[in-house]
Amino acid sequence: MIPPTFDYASPKSLSEAIGLLASRGEGAKVIAGGQSLIPLLKLRLASPSLLVDINRIHGLNRIEESGDSLRIGALTRMADVEASDLIMERYPIIHDASEVIGDPLVRNLGTVGGNVSHGDPNNDMPAVMLALGAAFVATGSAGERTIKAQDFFLDTFTVALNHDEILTEIRVPKSRPKSGGCYLKLEQKVADFATAGVAVQVRLIEGGECEEIGIGLTAVGPAAIKAKKAENWMRRKTWFDSRAVEELARLAAQEANPMTDIRGTAAYKRQVVARLVSRAFRRACKRAGGAL
């Protein structure tokens, strides 16, 4: 399959890239790892007039804790996230997702920023970022702004970036004591999209109470879903209260809005969400120091 024709530029600086996006309007599209965009071009589901390749811009691929956050440069490859000791030890929920995105070849090129800003409800990082309460740094003609994850995923392939903005950094609240998270994905085969995916992040306090909880859902709606009702229900309840956890799972499944497709019926997918939520919640609590 041959992509449609397009112009191509690979600027070396962010300002040059933003200038190109601003001057070419809606027809210009950023390409990072290309692992979602190139397949779309081949299927001719996307036909930008200009591709702005940001791979040669330096400084967009760090993973570091700084101030009160973990900062992940938008161009960081998924394979580098997967190999990061800092992420494995302190942000296991991100590590979980990095292992199940695409396949090893996709992860060598695919970027965290691309997985987030592509806006595909089947992508795994959006749910993780919703659960973590992350924020995204967008840099554009008007300067830099920060967008909360919960305000970012608007619709299928639609995120809160303006056409002249580039996602440059992902900021995750710094890991605190007694916190833990988990991402679980049911997939039919490696590199398939999720039948459903669930991200749960918790912080426990004395007595095993959930002080904070974030839940994100993958592939069960037009965009990644933050399961707010389920979160609210579980706050202040103890992690070992199994009836409360059953209700948590039921509420999250209710908040899911799946479609019947080749991966299963809507009703089946809700069941999958319920089971994954209770499993991911227990694993997150275990990682947060709640003993089983």
């Binding site: 399959m1 041959i2 992509p3 449609p4 024709t5 397009f6 112009d7 191509y8 530029a9 690979s10 600027p11 070396k12 390409i31 290309g34 692992q35 190139i38 397949p39 071009l41 081949k42 299927l43 200009l50 591709l51 390749d53 791979n55 040669r56 394979a79 695409g102 396949d103 090893p104 070849l105 996709v106 060598n108 090129l109 490696v190 590199a191």
Partner: protein, 161 residues
């Protein structure tokens, strides 16, 4: 630097150790550049939808799908294809292992399997079976059921010692 707002773009790519220069359309995929411009047809087009990895090549040390990279993105980069594995008439130890352990039947996926195995063994010279299964999890084979491929990679790891 490949930047153009119209027409073809000059690129220079190191392929199997040799610098190759060409002018290409931005939409040209790396796999078509290798096969059609350079005549290196060892790299196969399998699914053409980024699923099967028959087109796997090594780019700057990392295994990637040549059908999911633009040729212009390979500007200045170092590419290793299956043709670059053997030295003259001597097969690469990974190729020897696939031969010895019957790691192929129709052979269509083999170039991609070899490149994924190459990347895996570069990063991990003593892989467990699980490491190997994960390492080739992006490569689809429709003949072997993978058993002999896994044995081939295990044999290749022993060959390298």
């Amino acid at each position: 630097m490949p930047s153009s707002l119209a027409g073809r773009i000059p690129i220079t790519v190191t392929v199997n150790g040799a610098k190759r220069a060409a002018e290409v359309e931005p939409r040209l995929l790396l796999v078509h550049f290798l096969r059609e411009d350079l005549g290196l047809t060892g790299t196969h087009v399998g699914c053409d939808t980024s699923n099967c990895s028959a087109c796997a090549v090594i780019m700057d040390g990392k295994v990637v799908k040549a059908c999911t990279v633009l040729a212009v993105q390979a500007e200045g980069r170092d590419i290793l294809t299956v043709e670059g594995l053997a030295k003259e008439d001597t097969l690469h130890p990974i190729q020897e292992a696939f031969l010895a352990k019957h790691g192929l039947q129709c052979g269509y996926c083999t170039p991609g399997m070899l490149m994924s195995a190459y990347a895996l063994l570069k990063a991990n010279s003593h892989p467990t079976e699980d490491d190997i299964r994960r390492g080739i999890s992006g490569n689809i084979c429709r003949c072997t059921g993978y058993a002999q491929i896994i044995e081939s990679v295990q044999q290749a790891a022993r060959n390298k010692k």
